[in-house]
């Protein structure tokens, strides 16, 4: 390799930032600007993926930057979980950029330069979160991610949008400063370090009932994981343009949330330590509650994007649930589900956006028969939905398999029952819509005649739909890699 691995980490963090600057400079020429975005995305993906072989061989590349506080460095260390998140985010950014170009141009959106700049910064933040070697570094990038996505959510700029964006930002910043930050400082004051250490750093340092308090502070403080009742920001953020929703739901934001929770469980608490604390049951209950309740709310939605938002809330709690079952198989399942959900959900959002661009429709009730006008889009949507439900041969089946395996290892019947119930509920809110889209006659005439959305969008959503199949077929190397996280 030409660069050392530390250099590679450094480039992974700085490429999107340079990209942001270049996008700003190229703002006046849309074609150049979009080329810059795509080039940056491809460069980032190449750089990030170049670390995968090292990781598979058991390497853990590190990079140390300045010392922020005595004993607390801004440092990066790539481990399997972060590798997965970074590879996922950087890879999907390419697809998302292709899609964005179609969407933003097809919709004649304003302030496109600001949009692409903030997107690039958000990606830098996501990579930062993924590669952090300690909780402090992670927290920094977590906050950067929140702030850089605010202009994206508020993109439309009208009163209602700004109000929703305020909810988004208020909840995320509020929980992170109000709960995550003190939880982190508390951890530091008892453990004397914040490094992510295999096996955890809290064993023997803290006892019940304080473990429960700290655990809840983390789970609620990491608001991006959207565990109820900290979920309101996600439906509020639906006012954003669809590529941003895809960024939030599939690429970066919510993934950063569940990633952080998994990381805290595995590397801060340590799963063996946490398993012996009764309070981890509390998190299982919370996750199960969120899964079931969000599915019921999704059943009652008529707006397609809101339905998807509630579906995401449920799917995120799958990850939280898997992580809090604290069995080896379920921890692997947590990371697998991050990936499977990403492919499925990005397809669903791409499809919803394509429908909006082509027909300007947002309500499910208006979409009967739309599958005949947009067969590619709706087929991709159906595949994404099957992945959410967990039907083979889609990616969702694989991750559910691991999670179920973990639950059986623990004889955790609550988790098992919740997973079964949720599968049925997912089917109940997705399948009727898909049937109606393909089989019924169109009863609400579109404003103008339309076929498929612009080709970059169709290409993007077809590609991501294929990814869910690919994940089903070729998940083994990923599972092997993720199994390493439990090695002390």
């Amino acid at each position: 390799m030409i660069f050392s691995e530390a250099d590679t980490i450094f480039y992974a963090l700085t490429i999107p930032l340079f990209g942001a600057v270049a996008i700003a400079l190229a703002g006046r020429w849309p074609n150049v600007r979009e080329t810059v975005t795509l080039t940056t995305a491809v460069c980032l993906a190449v750089v990030v993926w170049s670390l995968v072989p090292t990781l598979q061989a058991g390497g853990r590349p590190e990079l140390q930057l300045g010392e922020m506080l005595p004993g607390l460095r801004i440092a990066f260390k790539v481990e399997p979980l972060g590798m997965l998140f970074a590879a996922l985010a950087s890879g999907l950014w390419i697809v998302n950029s292709v899609y964005s170009i179609g969407y933003m141009r097809g919709n004649n959106e304003q302030n496109q330069t600001r949009f692409y700049i903030c997107f690039a910064i958000a990606l830098a933040a996501a990579v930062g979160v993924a590669f952090s070697a300690n909780l402090l570094t992670l927290f920094i990038f977590y906050e950067v991610l929140t702030i850089s996505t605010y202009p994206l959510v508020a993109h439309k700029g009208d009163q209602a949008t700004v109000r929703s964006a305020r909810v988004y930002m208020g909840i995320l910043l509020g929980t992170s400063i109000g709960l995550f930050l003190p939880a982190m400082i508390w951890t530091y004051s008892i453990a004397g370090t914040l490094d992510f250490t295999p096996g955890g750093i809290l064993e023997g340092k803290i006892a019940e009932p304080l473990v429960g308090v700290l655990l809840l502070m983390f789970v609620f403080g990491i608001g991006k994981a959207a565990v109820m009742p900290i979920h309101r920001w996600l439906p509020a953020a639906m006012v954003a343009p669809t590529p941003v929703s895809a960024l939030l739901h599939a690429v970066a934001v919510v993934k950063a949330g569940v990633f952080t929770i998994t990381k805290v469980f595995v590397y801060i608490f340590g799963i063996d330590f946490l398993f012996n604390q009764p309070s981890h049951r509390l998190i299982i209950w919370l996750a199960c509650f969120t899964i079931v309740v969000s599915s019921f709310i999704a059943l009652r939605q008529t707006n397609l994007k809101r339905l998807l938002a509630y579906s995401t809330i449920g799917q995120l709690s799958y990850v939280v649930l898997a992580a809090s079952v604290l069995k080896p198989l379920s921890e692997v399942g947590a990371s697998m589900h991050m990936m499977a959900h990403a492919f499925g959900k990005i397809t669903l959002f791409f499809a919803a956006g394509a429908i909006y661009v082509a027909s300007k429709k947002t309500e499910i009730t208006d979409m009967r028969g739309i599958g005949r006008r947009m067969p590619w889009t709706m087929t991709a949507f159906a595949i994404g939905a099957l992945s959410m439900i967990g039907v083979p041969p889609t990616g969702g089946f694989i991750s559910k398999w691991y999670i179920l395996g973990g639950a059986i290892q623990d004889d955790n019947y609550l988790a098992l029952a919740t997973l079964v119930a949720s599968t049925l509920l997912n089917a109940a809110y997705f399948l009727p819509f898909i049937f109606a889209a393909f089989l019924y006659e169109e009863d609400v005439k579109p404003v103008k005649q339309h076929g498929e959305a612009p080709w970059p969008m169709v290409a993007a959503l077809t590609f991501t739909a294929l990814l869910t199949f690919a994940f089903f077929l070729f998940h083994q190397p990923i599972a092997d890699l993720e199994a390493q996280i439990l090695v002390k």
Partner: protein, 497 residues
Amino acid sequence: MTLYDQLPALVVVVLLFTAPITYMLRLHGFPWASATAAAVTSFGVACSLAATTIGGETIIYEMGGWPAPYGIVLHIDALSALMAMLITGASSAALIFGAKSLADEVGEETAPAFFAAWLLCTAGLVGMVITGDAFNIFVFMEISSLSTYVLISAGPDRRALISTYRYIVMGTVGATFYLIGVGFLYMVTGTLNTADLAARVGQVEDIRLVLVAAGFVSVGLAIKAAIFPLHSWMPNAYTFAPNAVTVFIAAASTKVSLYVLMRIDYAIFQNSITNHELQLTFFLVPLGVLALFAGSLLAIYEKNLKRLLAYSSVAQIGYIALGISMASVAGLTGAIVHMFNHGLIKGGMFMAVACLALRYRTVNVANLAGAGKAMPWTMAAFVIGGLGLVGVPLTPGFISKWYLVLAALDEGWLGALLVAIILMSSLLAVIYVWKVIEVACFGEPRANAVPVTEEAPLVMLIPTWIVVLTGIWIALDTSVTVGLASLAAKTLLGVAL
């Protein structure tokens, strides 16, 4: 004897001697140039003092060679050096930044007197932090106060005069209270040298006079430091002073009184009076908490941007007061770091406000709609400053908050409550900062407003961004600020280094 040995005196002498020269310079631009040169020189000296003290050394300099306790000594340790760096740095930055805006706001004829007063003000503030003599502190306090009144009354709005008058009344009461307190201490101990006082106060038999003295000193300094509810002079003084003056006094002046409070409470009283920390717990903690909430709420409902930031200062001083009152190394470190960091953050923000004021001719938040597009660099600086007030990581505010929360966690259940309060007030800061950002960056300009298309001039933007970037730098590399502050905290508490 080399010049190097005289550095401790030079940091203030340069300023004092340049002041009359500045007053005599009548040519256009010269008073500013001479004041700036003096301030920058003094800043350089302060930095070299900091470099000496960061190793844990304390510099004792006998004025005129008269040994203590007969003569006056300068007593410079890590804390003094950090404060001197803050004051002279703020003074230099505000002067360099104010080259254009001060020429705009202060008339040609008044310029020499104005800049002479500026130097005297800086000299007074620096004098207060380096002297080792309680009465000397009063003398320097009066020098700085009197010249601050001149600076504020130079504001273009006539309401500046009324604000100055209110400040004079409050400031004089504060200084007098301090003097009365010091007088009592002199009566019972027969000395004014702080080190000597620390040694002798403990031997006083009738403790009642000492307690009365402590009361007078604390209340007097609380007025000067604008600790809630004694802050009422501050918002209008900040609002109506010339913009560059606001930058300077917001960054430095209240902090110096907090410094004196800290010095006298810890160096003199803490080890001499039994249960002295109760005074901190029952006096400073409630005031600090009140300040956090009252200041933030007032800021949330304020429409004038300068006054909004002034109320935010009231809240931020609450943090410092809380840190001081915790009487632990982490708490004092947090308080001291926050003095420095907040000075930097607020200075930078008032610079951005001055840029906005130059173009928009108003600092009403509602009229600043569209500023994000018209003046992107200025608003970016403002946003970074605002995030610093909230305490977002990568900003200096995060470092201060980290230490304050760490200190509060050591205080048991009451500490958990304090953590909650500190964080809640951070969230209030989100509201008042975001209120401005939303209007300026995402709002549409009013239909009847005069459109602003020009960014602030580079002579203002560059100093603003130097301050902002310095802030980010000291948030990433805290070895100097936290290093000096933890050293200072340990010295004040008498913990082994």
